[in-house]
């Protein structure tokens, strides 16, 4: 273990930078939608990370895998996450997990989701905490699915309030996320009574995520756009 130097103690405001004690949190998934690849790059040429720790937790928060990577080079490094998800249980019909990236020196991290046809780059999930709610715009229409990802970064179970804003209606859904776990919220399913089946018109809605938890939650929105010929296009906000 190297001793932290002065540069290591300087904290970055960039949420995509993981560093000692300030990990980045990602949602990773494999079956049946897409594959996930982690991309890491050192922030400073003068302070290269000696080790980067990846901790994977299953949707219920149980430790799944822990890997320590040596990446003391300046070039970006890419790691396919799928092999680390082999033993992961299915939850909500998906094989998915919470990935926590920590490093002994600042390192920029992204995840790349890719299907056979397309890929997208995802920065770490943004955090929501007591007094800091998060909002996401979403589009509801035929052929689109909106999935909310909520990661609990703490060792305590967290209660999350998910409020939909559609016109003048503001229904709320409360869910519980296990410690270190993940929960997915299908907006079209949870709030189905507020949408008409096979809605053809494109509707602009918003979702606000709030919590009373002192420890931050990590959240992101995943939109699946089903195109012609059963092809899917994924778009994310995080």
């Amino acid at each position: 273990m190297t001793e932290p130097n002065v540069a290591q103690k300087e904290e970055s405001n960039d949420s995509s930078v993981a560093q000692n004690g300030t990990p980045s949190h990602f949602w990773v998934s494999t079956y049946p939608y897409f594959q996930s690849t982690l991309v890491l790059a050192p922030v400073s040429t003068e302070n290269l990370p000696q080790s980067v720790t990846l901790k994977l937790f299953d949707p219920d928060g149980a430790p799944l895998n822990e890997v320590t990577l040596s990446c003391n080079v300046l070039s970006p490094a890419m790691f396919e996450i799928d092999p680390f998800l082999e033993g992961c249980k299915l939850e909500s019909g998906l094989k998915h997990a919470h990935l926590c990236v920590d490093s002994d020196a600042p390192v920029k991290s992204f995840v790349r989701y890719h299907t056979g046809e397309s890929a997208c780059i995802v920065p770490p999930c943004i955090s929501a905490v007591d007094g800091l709610s998060r909002f996401f715009p979403l589009t509801v229409s035929e052929g689109r699915e909106n999935l909310f990802v909520v990661l609990n970064t703490s060792d305590e179970k967290a209660s999350v309030r998910c409020r939909l804003y559609r016109g003048n209606r503001k229904p709320e859904h409360i869910l519980s996320v296990p410690a270190r776990g993940v929960r997915l919220v299908s907006i079209e399913s949870v709030f189905r009574e507020y949408f008409e089946a096979g809605e053809r018109l494109i509707q602009q809605c918003y979702v606000r995520i709030g919590t009373r938890a002192d420890q931050p939650l990590a959240v992101q929105l995943l939109e699946r756009n089903v195109l012609e010929g059963d092809k899917s296009f994924f778009s994310l906000v995080s």
Partner: protein, 243 residues
């Protein structure tokens, strides 16, 4: 702070349009105090168009098509434009720093949504956090979008980090571009990624090239940089990340 400002780029053409979503919030204050959103649009050296949108309420998410704020955009504008978005309230002692903003570039087939760069008031320069990471493979073509929302010229100097004998050393200049005041430019990075000293990565689905680049200089206040990843086939933007 009683106001909060973001910088972003936007488009308005036959293929794509821009929607700005905002969430005026003061955290624990839940009273629906009124808020105002000011838009300042600039491109090609001109910064003459400012519009304000009233009727917003604290803790109430809302959004607007940019062409509804600036009707001349309905005719389409070639290239990218720069945009400053400022949320403010006249209520004293209201802190708007928990507010949020999301920009959506919507095309017929899909949308790409991203967070614009929040500007810090009172600072004369903006530091770019960390490296810019570009990819070039069957999925993505990468480019750097530079928004110069200042009255001064900005010289964007890109460099590759270099290693000598296993030790990090000085950076090597890759490219330099000069941006006039109030302009937005997109710089494809295909050549820089191809010429970077990194070997291609072998993935289960094929090879990919990734490169880490640094932006040498501090940017003038009011400016922002974004990494844009376009679909390699359709050339449509699929991911945008503020840096």
């Amino acid at each position: 702070m009683q106001s909060i400002t973001w910088a972003t780029f936007c488009v308005a053409n036959s293929l794509a349009r821009t929607i700005v979503h905002f969430f005026p919030s003061s955290g624990t204050v839940t009273a629906p105090y009124p808020a105002v959103c000011k838009f300042t649009l600039f491109s090609q050296g001109e910064c003459a168009k400012t519009q304000s949108l009233e009727g917003l309420r604290l803790s109430q998410p809302d959004g607007v098509r940019l062409e509804d704020v600036f009707p001349f955009l309905r005719d389409g504008v070639s290239g990218m434009m720069g945009l400053h978005i400022t949320l403010s309230t006249i209520q004293p002692r209201i802190d708007l720093s928990p507010s949020d903003c999301v920009v959506e570039i919507a095309s017929r087939s899909h949308s790409v949504r991203f967070h614009p760069k929040q500007l810090e008031g009172g600072k004369e320069a903006v530091t770019v956090d960390g490296p810019l990471i570009g990819f070039d493979d069957q999925f993505h073509k990468s480019s750097l979008v530079v928004v110069n929302g200042a009255e001064s010229v900005f010289e964007a100097s890109l460099a590759w980090p270099q290693e000598e004998g296993g030790e990090a050393s000085e950076v090597k200049a890759a490219r330099s571009e000069r941006l006039s005041p109030w302009t937005v430019e997109e710089f494809p990075l295909q050549k820089e990624i191809e010429e970077s000293p990194t070997d291609p990565f072998e993935q289960s689905w094929g090879n990919t090239r990734a490169a880490s680049l640094s932006l040498g200089e501090e940017m003038p206040a009011g400016s922002a940089c974004f990494m844009m990843y376009r679909d390699a086939t359709t050339k449509l933007p699929v991911s945008v990340v503020a840096v």
